[in-house]
Symmetry: C5
Subunit: 301 residues, 5 copies
C-alpha cells in the first residue's frame, strides 16, 4: 500500500506532533489506512452480540476480544476504558482506541431520540495512558445527527477531538444519522453529510454506515470526497458469507477509495482461531490491498 | 475458599495499588468473593423495609444495621455517607462501601423513568476517609439501563469507577434494567447485558438481580461469563424460608459461579441476634463454601 | 432538660469539631433540643403569610421577624441570606440558620412537581460568616421526596450537609413528601420515610410535618426512631388556640420524643409583644420541658 | 429630599464598603431614591419600542439612549454590556447598571413559561469595570416568579446579588410574576410578594409593576412595606399624557412611599430634547420631591 | 471606500487593543466593511449545498473553500475549527473566523425549536491561534431568537463576545429569528430586532437575513440603524443570475448602508475559477464601492 505523508492537524501542539504521528502510523501501519476492531457492543447491544445461537461460545467472555486483537493483525482495537483497564496488563501490545461514549439499545428511537454522553474527559484518558503505559492511540465518539440531542453530541465531539489532538492522540468519530427526523439512515447523500460533519469536527477518521444503494461502493464516493482530509472508514456488508463480505470491503477500498474498515460482530462472533484468520484477511485487504481471492486464501489458511 | 490472585485494574495508579489490594482483600477476606450487607434501603424504599408487621422492631433504628455489621461476619456494609458519618465512630472496624446515589420509590416508572444522581464526588469520599480514619473500602452506584436518563447514569458510573480507582478504592455497580422500555427486568439475557455494561464501566463488582427462569442458577451463567473479570454478585432469592434462601445462594455460587452475594432486607428485618446468625451463615456460604446444611447449622446455632 | 453529649459526625474535620460543637450547643441551649423560628415564608408563600385580615400589621415589615428573634428566647432563626445581610448589623446576637433554597407557591403540583434549587454554595455562606461576624450556626434546605426533581434535591442536600460539616456548621433538612406521585403528604409512615432519608443525608436535624393520624404524637414515634441520631423536629399543630398548639407540641416532645420544634406563622403573625411571649412559651416547652399550664402562663404573662 | 444613612449590607466585605457606599450615593444622589433610565428593551421587546409610528425617529439609534443619559439628570442608566462597551468611551460620566439577563418577547407565555438566563458572571463585570474605567455602579436581573423556570432564576438572582456585593456593586432586581400559573400579574398582593422575594434575595432595589387597583398608589403600600430595607421602585403609569404620568409617579413616591422610578419607553420614544426635559422632570420628582406642577414646568421649560 | 476610524469596544483590554485593531483592519481592508466567505454549511445543510445537479463537482471537496479563500479577495473565511486545523497549514494567509456553533438541518422547527450549542470556549480558540500561527481574526455564533432555547444561545453569544474581545478577537453574530413562535423570519422589523439584539450582545458584526419586502434595501435601513455601532452585513439575494445578485448587494450597501456581505453557496457552488471571479466582484462591490457594471466586468474577466 503506498501512503501519502500524514498531515498533522494544527490543533496538535508542536511538542505533541511526534506523538500524534507515532499514533497515526501505529494504527495505519504507515499505509494511511485504518483497520479497526470495533468492540464497543457490550454496551451498545448489551449481550445480544455475544451470546446466542449463531455466536461462538468464546464470544461471551470479554477476553475473547483481547485475544483476537492480540493475535490477529489489526490497526487498533476500540473498546471501553473499563475493559482495557481490566485486561490491558495481559495485552500490552495492542493499540487501543478508547470509545468515550456509549448507550444501550433498550430505549428505541420511537420512544426517545438517541442520546449518548461522554464518559470521561480526554484528560482522564491521558492520565490513564501515562499510568498504564498502554498504547492508547486515540479516542472514539458516536454522534447521532438528526437526534434532538444532537447539539450536546456535536459539542462533546468537537471538544473531545480538540483535546485528543492537544494530547497527541487521534480522534475517531462514528457518524450516524438517527432520530425521529431521519427517514433513511443508509441514504448515501445523508452518509456524505455525516462524513462532512466529522471533517468539520476535526476527526482524523470517520466511521460511517455502508449506504443502501444499487451500486453502494459508487454511492459511497460522495462521502469519501465530502470528508476531505478526514479519512473515511466503513463497515463491511452484512455477513452472508466471507466472500461477499470481502468483496464489499474491496469495493469500498478500491471503488469508493475509503481509508479502511471497522468490523465488530463479523469478527468476534467467530471462534478465536477463525476470528483471527478472518481479521487477518481484512487487514490484508486494508493494509496490503490484496485481492478478494487472496483474502479468502488467508481466511482459509 | 481458594482464591486466584487479585488483578489490579490499570486505572489504579502505581502508588495506590497497595491500597487497592488492601481494600480488595479486606472485603473479600482474600477469597475473591464478596459478601455485601446492603443497607441503602432507607432512601430506596423509605421506611417500608424497616417498619411493619413482619419486621423486627429493632429494624426501625438505623443503628440496627451497624450492630449487625459490627457483630456478624461480613465482607462490607454498603450504606449512605450520612449514616456512616453519624455512627461510624462507634463502629470503626466495619469495612464500608459508600453508596453514592439513591432515589426513593415514590415516583413509579409509569410516571417517569428512574433517575438517580451522584450525591458526592469520589474526591469528597476520599476526604471523608482521611478525616474519619474509617475503612472506606469503596463506593457503590446504581445504574438503570433502559431508563431515559441512562446516559447521565452511565457517565456518572464511569467517572466514579475511574476516580475510585485513582484513590485506590473499589467500585461496585448495582446494574439493573428498568424503565418504560424494559419489559422483563429479570430476564437472564438482559441481566447478562447489565453485567457486561458494568465490565465496560470498569466495576470491580456488579450486583445484579437473580433471574426469573426455570433453572435460574444455570441461567445466571451467561451473566457471570459476560462480566468477565468484573466479579458478579447477586441477591439471594425472596425469603420464603432460610433453607430455600441458602440453597438459592449456594446454587448461584456453585452452579453459576458467582462471586458472592448482596443481602439487605433478608438480614436486617430480623431481630439482632437472629440477623447476626443469618448473616454468618451467608458469610460461610460465600467465604468458606460451606454446604446448605452447614449454613442452616450456623443459622440455628 | 437533661442532655446527652453531642455526637459530632465524622464528616466534621478534626479542626472544626470545636466550632461544630459550639454551634450545636448554641442552637440547642445544651439541651439536645432545637427551637427554630422558621422565617423563610416570604419566598415560600410570598406575602400571603405576612399581610391579611387575621395577621398583625407588624408582620408585613421583614424586621418584625428579627425583632422577635432578638427579644424572644429561641434556638435559631432560619431565613434567607438577603434578609440576614440587610438586618443582621442591628441584630448581631441572633443565632442564624441560612435557608439555602426556596420556591414560591405559584406553580402548583398539578402543573409541575416542586423544584427548589440551592441559592448559594456553603462556601459562600462561610465567607459571609467570616465577613459579617454573625452567628451563622448552620444551613437549611428543603427536599421534596416524590417530586420528579427529587434527584437534584437529594444531590444538593447531601452536598450541602457534607460541606456545612466541613466548615463546622449544622445542616437542617426540611423533609417533605410532595409531588403528583404523593397521595397523602401527612401519612405517618411516609413522614418516617422522609426522616430516614434525612438521616442518610447526614442532617443534624430534620424538620417534618406533623402527621395526620388519630393519635398523631404516637404515630410520630416511627419517624423519630427512623431518624436515628438525626434529631427530628416538628411544627406544632394548626393554630386554633394557644392551648391546643402547646398541647400538640408537648405531646410531640414527650410522647413522640421529638427533639424540638420549628414554628413560623404561628409566631410572626402575632403583634410583636404577643409573638415574643408565644415564642418564649414554645422555648420553655422545648428547652425546659415545662407543662402546658406553665407554657400558657408564660404566654399570658 | 432628606435621606436616611445608607445601610450597607453585611455581604459587602469590609474593604468594599466604601466602594458600595460610593455607588449607592452615586445613583441615589444621596437622597436614598433611585431614578433609573431603563434601557434594556432592545432585547426584551426587539425593535418594537424603538421604531414605529408614534416613536421619534431618534430612537432607532442605540446612541439615543446614551445621549439622554448623558445630558439629562438621572440616577443610573441600565442596559446591556454590549452597548455600554460600544458607546461608553464617548459617555464616560454616566453611572451604569449592567442588566445581566434578557429574553425576547417572541415566545409567549402560553407557549412556554418565561426563562431568562444570566449572560455574564459578576466577576466578568468587575473585570470590565476595571478595564473600562466606567462607572459601573451595579448589576440588574429580572426574575419571573411563577414561571416553571423560577428555580433557575432565583438561584442566579441570589448569586448575582451576593457577588455584586462582594465587589462593592449594587444589585437591582426586576421582580415580576409571570407564567401560566399567574392569573393577574398586576395584583397588588402578588406585587408585594415579589417585593418580599427581592428582599430575601438581598437586592438593594426592586423594580416592580405598578398595580392595577382602584387606588393603585395606596395598594402599592403593601409592597413597599414587604420589601423592608430593600428599596422599591416602580414604573410610572402608561403614558397617556405627561401630567397623568407625573401624577402617578408623585403618588407612588408620596402616598406609597416608593424609593424612586424606572422609566424606559416613556423617555426614549421622545425626540432627544423632549426626552431630556421629560427625564429631568422625573428626576426632580424623584430626587427633589417637587410637585407635579413643577415637574410640568421643567418638562415644558 | 472611505472609512471612519475603528471604535474599539471597552471590553477589549488595553493590552489587546492593538491586536483587536489589527484583526478589524485585516478583515475590513481598512474600509470599515466586511466581506465574509461563509463556509459553515457542511454542518448546517449537511451535503445538500456541496453535491448535486446544479453544483460544481469541485464543491464536494472541502478544500474547494480554502482554494477560493486563498486565491480570491475576501475579508475573512468563516468555517469550523476542524477544517481550519486540517487545511490551514496549506493556506496560512487566509484570515479566519472560527464558527463556534452549528447544527444540522435534520430536525425541523415543527419537531423542535432550533438549538445550537457552543463547540469550544474562546480560550481554546486562543490556544489554537497561538499554536497554529494562523490569522484567527475572530469567532462566529448563530442565535435563533424566538426559539425555546433562546436563553442558552443568548448566554453563550454574550459570553463568547466578551471573551473574544478579552483576547483581542472579533465577534460576529449570525442573528436569525426562528422557532415555532416566529411567523415570518424575513420580516424587516423582526430583522431589525435581531440586529438590535446583536448590538446588545456586543457583536462587532451581525449577519442578518435579507428582508422580504417590496423595497427590500429600503426596508433594511431600520436594521442598520438599530444595530448602531455594531456593523450589519447581509447575504445577497437568491442567485438567479449574477447581475441581480450584485444589484441586490449594491442596493444593500448604498441604499441600506450595510457594512458588507456574507456569501456562501452563491460562491462555492461554482467551479474554482468562476468562484474566484465571483468573489472578487463581491469584494470590489464591498471594499471599493464599485458599480454593478464594474462588478460584472470583474466577474466575466
Amino acid at each position: 500500500m503506498q501512503s501519502s505523508p500524514v498531515i498533522i492537524p494544527l490543533d496538535v501542539p508542536k511538542d505533541k506532533r511526534k506523538k500524534y504521528l507515532h499514533n497515526y502510523e501505529l494504527v495505519t501501519h504507515r499505509t494511511g489506512r485504518l483497520m479497526l476492531l470495533a468492540g464497543d457492543q457490550k454496551v451498545e447491544h448489551l449481550n445480544d452480540d455475544f451470546y446466542g445461537e449463531s455466536i461462538a461460545s468464546d464470544d461471551n467472555n470479554p477476553e475473547h476480544l483481547f485475544r483476537i486483537a492480540n493475535k490477529a493483525r489489526i490497526g487498533a482495537f476500540a473498546t471501553q476504558l473499563g475493559l482495557i483497564a481490566r485486561y490491558g496488563m495481559d495485552y500490552p501490545k495492542i493499540p487501543y482506541i478508547v470509545k468515550l461514549n456509549a448507550k444501550t439499545n433498550l430505549v428505541k428511537t420511537m420512544q426517545k431520540d438517541p442520546q449518548s454522553s461522554l464518559w470521561y474527559k480526554v484528560e482522564e484518558i491521558e492520565r490513564f495512558q501515562k499510568n498504564s503505559d498502554l498504547h492508547i492511540a486515540g479516542v472514539g465518539y458516536t454522534i447521532y445527527l438528526g437526534s434532538e440531542y444532537e447539539s450536546d453530541m456535536l459539542h462533546q465531539a468537537a471538544c473531545l477531538t480538540y483535546w485528543a489532538h492537544q494530547y497527541g492522540m487521534l480522534s475517531i468519530i462514528w457518524g450516524y444519522a438517527r432520530g425521529r427526523a431521519v427517514k433513511n439512515e443508509k441514504d448515501a447523500h445523508l452518509i456524505a453529510g455525516a462524513a462532512g460533519v466529522a471533517a468539520c469536527l476535526g476527526a482524523d477518521f470517520v466511521k460511517v454506515n455502508h449506504p443502501h444503494a444499487e451500486n453502494s461502493a459508487t454511492a459511497l464516493k460522495e462521502a469519501v470526497a465530502a470528508a476531505g482530509r478526514t479519512k473515511l472508514i466503513c463497515a463491511g456488508g452484512k455477513e452472508e458469507n466471507a466472500q461477499t463480505f470481502f468483496q464489499t470491503l474491496h469495493d469500498q477500498l478500491h471503488i469508493a477509495n475509503t481509508s479502511g474498515s471497522a468490523t465488530g460482530r463479523n469478527i468476534h462472533q467467530r471462534p478465536l482461531d477463525e476470528a483471527i484468520r478472518f481479521t487477518n484477511a481484512i487487514a490484508s485487504l486494508t493494509f496490503d490491498a490484496v485481492s478478494v481471492t487472496e483474502a479468502m486464501r488467508i481466511y482459509h489458511e
